[in-house]
Amino acid sequence: MKYVATFYTHVSAMMSQRSLAAKGIRAKLAPTPRELSSSCGTCVRYEADDPSYSLLDSDVEQVASLDDSGYRILRQFS
């Protein structure tokens, strides 16, 4: 499954990408898609069996899944 996680800060996205990659999950940094946010921060796009919340940095804002029908928000963090 493809996932997109957005963050409150750029560095938080960077650290999440690294901890995902360290577990062998394909993850890359990208600009946050407009559909998910009006902010212009950095997101992490990754492919995994599950959303892998525990690997994401604490400044994660939301996690969405992505398929042919588009983004579906799975979880909002505050």
Binding site: T9, H10, V11, M14, L29, P31, S38, C40
Partner: protein, 358 residues
């Protein structure tokens, strides 16, 4: 194939549309009275507002520009309608204030924000191409700390009033500017050149709403291209140049490409370059160019509101201490020293805000 086309339109359509509208609006507002190659300039207009409030004494650049009010309120209304309005703040406000002041000082050395730089390029001003080179170099420098863990730390949810306070203050003073003679108002110079208030306001409302939808950002476009090879935002940048160029051809019957004798511009290449390098570096650290800060402030971001106050204060510093350029050249004040100090401050902010272990 059909699907691919749709997604191109979806991805790029809004940004390109916004760029074209901004370019056309800039040409229109200039035709209707705004200073040449300054249909829209966030730095110049905030500087004019700073002057209108009496924060600086440069009599030729004092006017409470309705465009600024329109951009913020347009973004706010659009964000409220689409339920994206969110009061948030608390991400290193004072550092943002300082960065804002530095960005403005750099912009006034060049004579324009990144948006006016693009509009100047579309108007044939080759000095702005030198500025663009500086801007790109500044952004590339700014992405280095970003890659090494630079952060101003996250913003948190705030009260509705905190998010609304800046737009409200902006509108209140706008009403004061229209209804009374309390604010200063230039009778000559760029500050006296103005499109009709209502036209400026309506055009800016539309542009503000479009910018909220498209997230158009001059600094973000180059940053995304450099960091992610993502060219979405930069297409807006190109669209503005195209629209201004075509608009000038239609309205003025031609565009003269030159370094000399361009409107409200000087040909000191070194300082054009350095001024925009400061703007680029500062904008990347701030997460957006001056235009983008207006849009974010409209969306309820009080960090951006503080950044805007930094711009306004920076404009006052520039004019009070002779740092702002004019058509005659760079200012009579200690421009070189302040630029050096400014770059040192940018370096200190960049290095001291790198998160440990990142």
């Amino acid at each position: 194939m059909e699907k691919k086309k749709n997604s191109f339109l979806k991805d790029y359509g809004m940004v390109i549309l916004t760029g074209l509208v901004i370019g056309a609006a800039a040409v229109l507002l200039t035709k209707l009275g705004n200073p040449k190659n300054m249909g829209f300039c966030i730095a110049c207009f905030l500087r004019d507002i700073s002057g209108a409030m009496g924060f600086h004494g440069a009599a030729v650049v004092q006017y409470y520009r309705p465009e600024i009010v329109g951009l913020v309120v347009g973004s706010m209304v659009m964000a409220l309608v689409t339920k994206e309005w969110k009061a948030q703040g608390g991400s290193s406000p004072f550092t943002r204030f300082v960065l804002g002041a530095l960005v403005m000082i750099g912009a006034l050395v060049f004579l324009g924000c990144p948006l006016r730089m693009v509009i100047r390029i579309g108007g044939g001003d080759l000095n702005a191409v030198v500025g663009l080179l500086g801007f790109i170099v500044g952004i590339v420098i700014g992405t280095i700390p970003l890659r090494k863990g630079f952060t101003l730390n996250r913003a948190y949810k705030q009260s509705k009033l905190e998010g609304l306070a800046f737009p409200i203050a902006l509108v209140v003073f706008f009403i004061v500017s229209v209804a009374t003679v309390l604010l200063k108002s230039s009778t000559e110079g760029p500050g006296s050149m103005r499109a009709p208030i209502l036209v400026s306001l309506i055009v800016a409302l539309i542009v503000g709403a479009l910018c909220q939808r498209s997230r158009l950002c001059m600094a973000g476009g180059i940053r995304d291209a450099v960091m992610f090879k993502d060219f979405k935002l930069i297409t807006g940048f190109v669209a503005i140049i195209v629209a201004v160029l075509v608009g000038n051809l239609i309205v003025n019957g031609g565009v003269k490409f030159s370094f000399a004798d361009q409107p409200i511009a000087h040909s000191d290449g070194l300082f054009n370059f350095l001024g925009m390098a400061m703007v680029g570096w500062g904008s990347v650290l701030l997460g957006g160019c001056p235009l983008r800060q207006l849009i974010l402030a409209g969306e309820g971001n009080s960090d951006s509101a503080v950044t805007l106050l930094g711009f306004i204060c920076g404009a006052a510093i520039s004019h009070n201490f002779g740092l702002a350029s004019s058509a005659a050249g760079i200012g009579a004040g200690p421009v070189a020293i302040v630029m050096v100090v400014g770059f040192i401050i940018l370096a200190i902010v960049s290095v001291c805000n790198m998160k440990k272990g990142a």
